[in-house]
């Protein structure tokens, strides 16, 4: 059995946390080959080679892969698919864009958001915003899947595994990149952070979100948000935690002014310790919080920031 894993490479850099957790999920199935594709990907490939459990790294460097467009990335994976039984990627937005395309081109079903690997054909995945866990057994010859990385442990150091350059695949020529709007931040990345502080509708405005950010910075935490806060323009879309946003499982998750809709809980309920601060003592978030503080966030959160 052999596994091809699409490494998460953004602007030439490997997301080691997500890629490593996906390796940890899959290494029991066979030799794991990590594919790093990008306009520059050599450094990412060398980083991937040091993840424990990686047998080999393939590097496809070409401007075609610089902006993670689905069509060329899927064509590259399909071209390599013949040698592998499992073709997988960490369940990032890029992979969710690319992997179903790969699966359909191979005439197999995609198995998204795998949260446990039972055997080579059988996997668990959450459905209904995490309100149910389904075990599915694939009858397809190849398994194309994405890995819910929050469900797996980080991979250790290993290798280095051999790194091999490969030729670019075809250019389907269907789409073109125009621009990225990416906020620069010194904070930890949301999905791999050990601590996350999130704000919801209760925060009230974009300006008042500074209260959430101040606490996050004091804790060295990433900042998250509920859908309501993002929809209201208080926080950017890439901060959204939940069913259709990011899934996080930090050591500490602080939910502030978040009522706790099931769609939000789907993205954070596997956190180790959950703190909820909300003025409404009936808020559903308190039903899953380890420590709940009923009170006005505008006084309690600055006080907490000061006392830490």
């Amino acid at each position: 059995m052999a596994v091809l894993l699409l490494g998460e490479v953004t602007n030439g850099a490997l997301n080691r946390d997500a890629t490593g957790k996906a390796v940890a999920a899959l290494k029991g199935l066979g030799d794991v080959t990590v594919l790093c594709a990008g306009a520059s990907a050599q450094a990412a490939g060398e980083a991937a080679a040091t993840i424990e459990g990686v047998a080999r790294v393939l590097v496809a460097e070409d401007p075609l892969y610089g902006h993670r467009l689905a069509e060329p990335a899927a064509a590259l994976l399909v071209g390599l698919a013949g040698d592998y039984d499992h073709i997988a990627a960490p369940a990032t937005t890029d992979a969710k864009n690319i992997m179903p395309r790969v699966a359909a081109l191979l005439d197999v079903m995609v198995i998204p958001d795998v949260s446990a690997v039972i055997d080579a054909s059988t996997f668990e995945r959450p459905i209904y915003a995490g309100n149910a866990i389904q075990t599915v057994k694939s009858s397809d010859a190849k398994k194309v899947m994405t890995i819910r990385v929050a469900s797996f442990d980080a991979a250790g150091e290993g290798g280095p595994a051999p790194v091999e350059a490969i030729a670019a695949g075809d250019n389907p020529g269907l789409s073109a990149w125009l621009n990225d709007e990416v906020a620069q931040s010194d904070r930890p990345e949301l999905t791999s952070a050990g601590r996350v502080v999130s704000g919801g509708r209760g925060v009230g405005s974009k300006e008042q979100f500074a209260i959430i950010e101040a606490l996050a910075d004091k804790l060295g935490a990433a900042v998250g948000a509920s859908r309501a806060a993002v929809d209201s323009g208080y926080a950017p879309n890439d901060w959204q935690v939940g069913q259709t946003g990011k899934v996080v499982a930090p050591e500490l998750y602080v939910a502030i002014g978040i009522s706790g809709a099931i769609q939000h809980l789907a993205g954070m309920k596997d956190s180790k310790v959950i703190v909820a601060i909300n003025k409404d003592e009936e808020a559903p978030i308190f039903q899953i919080a380890d420590y709940g503080l009923v009170g006005d966030l505008f006084t309690t959160v600055p006080e907490l920031t000061e006392k830490l």
Binding site: P100, V136, S175, N179, E181, A183, V230, D290, L293
Partner: protein
């Protein structure tokens, strides 16, 4: 340009899913069902394109049980012009996999020749997030998934996408598949007169067999269970007490 919008009948957004006692799946008997929220956004976007003159006709299509006709009537009441129901299952609890749905949609696209397909990015029941991308693959079309902004410009579409790092804007050649994310628009409510009018709009009924598509699942559902529960902890009375508890827990 004709716009095709696939819509799915799913458990209502506000209903908490309950796993059946025998572990065979989520109980959908006597549960309120609605249009998948992401598909409502897709329908709304298609209607707005028509209102702006960028689209000539909006065709809604649903694949599933015959009751999905109600979901199509909702799309028609919002403003779609006509609808196609493809009956592919008898049992309310049968979920047609995205690959089979994409194969049926491919056949519908070949018959209808739309210039654009707008789909919801994800159904809130199986949370697969796959049908649009799979349809693009089968057709050999471009795809713009997780759209928060869509502009048609001649034979191309400029699409801003919600991605992990923020936003990405790409240009795709038409025909293309766009999948709608949450912030593409706010769907309208159908007015009562429009609900009445929708009853007279054309709704064609087909079957999966009409399109020669085998809908046998590739993923056998072995079991469905409740997730591990998480029980409520304690309420603390003050910030000082909270800080103390967090120190005790070793997380700060």
């Amino acid at each position: 340009m004709k716009v095709l919008v696939p819509v799915k009948r799913v458990i209502d957004y506000n209903v908490k899913a309950r796993v059946k006692a025998d572990g065979s799946g989520v109980d959908l008997a006597n549960v309120k069902m609605s249009m998948n929220p992401f598909d409502e956004i897709a329908v709304e976007e298609a209607i707005r394109l028509k209102e702006k003159g960028a689209a000539s006709e909006v065709v809604a299509v649903s694949i599933g049980v015959k009751q999905a006709a109600e979901t199509l009537r909702t799309a028609l009441a919002m403003g779609a012009d006509r609808a196609i129901l493809v009956v592919a299952a008898d049992d309310l609890h049968t979920d047609i996999e995205p690959l089979a749905v994409a194969k049926i949609l491919k056949a519908v696209v070949e018959a209808e020749q739309p210039g654009l397909v707008i789909a919801g990015k994800q159904a809130i029941d199986n949370d697969m997030n796959a049908t649009g991308q799979m349809l693009a693959a089968l057709l050999g079309w471009s795809q713009a998934a997780f759209a928060s902004k869509l502009e048609i410009d001649g034979d191309a579409a400029r699409v801003t996408r919600e991605v992990d790092g923020g936003l990405q804007t790409i240009e795709v050649k038409l025909p293309a598949i766009v999948t709608a994310d949450l912030r593409l628009n706010e769907p309208r409510y159908a007015s009562l007169p429009n609900i009445m009018k929708a009853k007279k709009k054309p709704l064609d009924e087909k079957t999966a067999a009409d399109y020669g598509v085998d809908v046998t699942p590739r993923l056998e559902i072995m079991s469905t269970r409740e997730p591990e529960g998480r029980s409520a902890g304690i309420k603390v009375g003050s910030v000082d007490e909270l800080v103390g508890k967090l120190k005790e827990a070793g997380v700060i």
